[in-house]
Assembly symmetry: C2
Homo-oligomer: 133 residues x 2
């Protein structure tokens, strides 16, 4: 069996609450982390909630990276969904761990889209060209 | 232990490939499914890849719903990340199953952001008001 995608679900506990409540900071950190992973950024969209909390997504050619933060619990949930073999999703986790000053991380890696392939063949991953928005 | 969020990872296999390759159709289906679940839509962003495949996200006040489709494999990966108890995430799965004509689904529900709470207390979920974009 071979997988089309891999997805890392990261629980960032014991973060700096001010940092994960600062939408500009979080968006910049996400863009920088995504670039460092060699992903191709297609769009990004971050929102600040009142009185606190951030939701954000970076759509990449290789899938997506999302965040939901609860600064009141010093916690952020991050998903890193990737396909292909040119991107290193763990770079994103490591960059965000430093940025959020998280002292306690829990990660789980999932395989998405499992298919049986013939010997010598490979699954084709998503092409990187966006044809329309 | 109580969780801030719940996340349903859905594998839609054996879909109608034309439907999961039609970005307008997929976006409309996502918006309708999200409304039916009683979620509050904040933003949405869908992209079509060349020669095929779609990536899309709906950010909701209660977190997010995403899709990545591989029409060449009749497959779509959907994530439904929610918080609070006003939204029914399974409504989204059921609506999309019909829309994509998927004949084979695999779902997994995860809890995100686990915290110990005192007896009689509850975790506070994300407020629904967006203070800035």
């Amino acid at each position: 069996m071979e997988a089309l995608g891999r997805q890392i679900l990261v629980e960032f506990y014991d973060c700096d609450s001010d940092k994960i409540n600062d939408v500009s900071f979080v968006e910049s950190a996400f863009l920088e982390a995504t670039r460092k992973s060699k992903a191709t950024i297609i769009s990004h969209n971050f929102h600040k909630f009142s009185p606190h909390g951030i939701s954000g997504v970076v759509v990449i050619a290789e899938s997506h990276v999302t965040i939901h933060s609860w600064p009141e619990y010093n916690y952020a949930a991050v998903d890193i969904f990737t396909c292909g073999d040119t991107i290193d999703p763990w770079v994103i986790q490591e960059y965000l761990k430093e940025a959020f000053e998280s002292k306690n991380i829990s990660s789980m890696e999932m395989k998405r889209g499992l298919f049986k392939v013939q010997p010598g063949q490979r699954l084709l991953f998503k092409p990187q060209k966006v044809s329309s928005n």
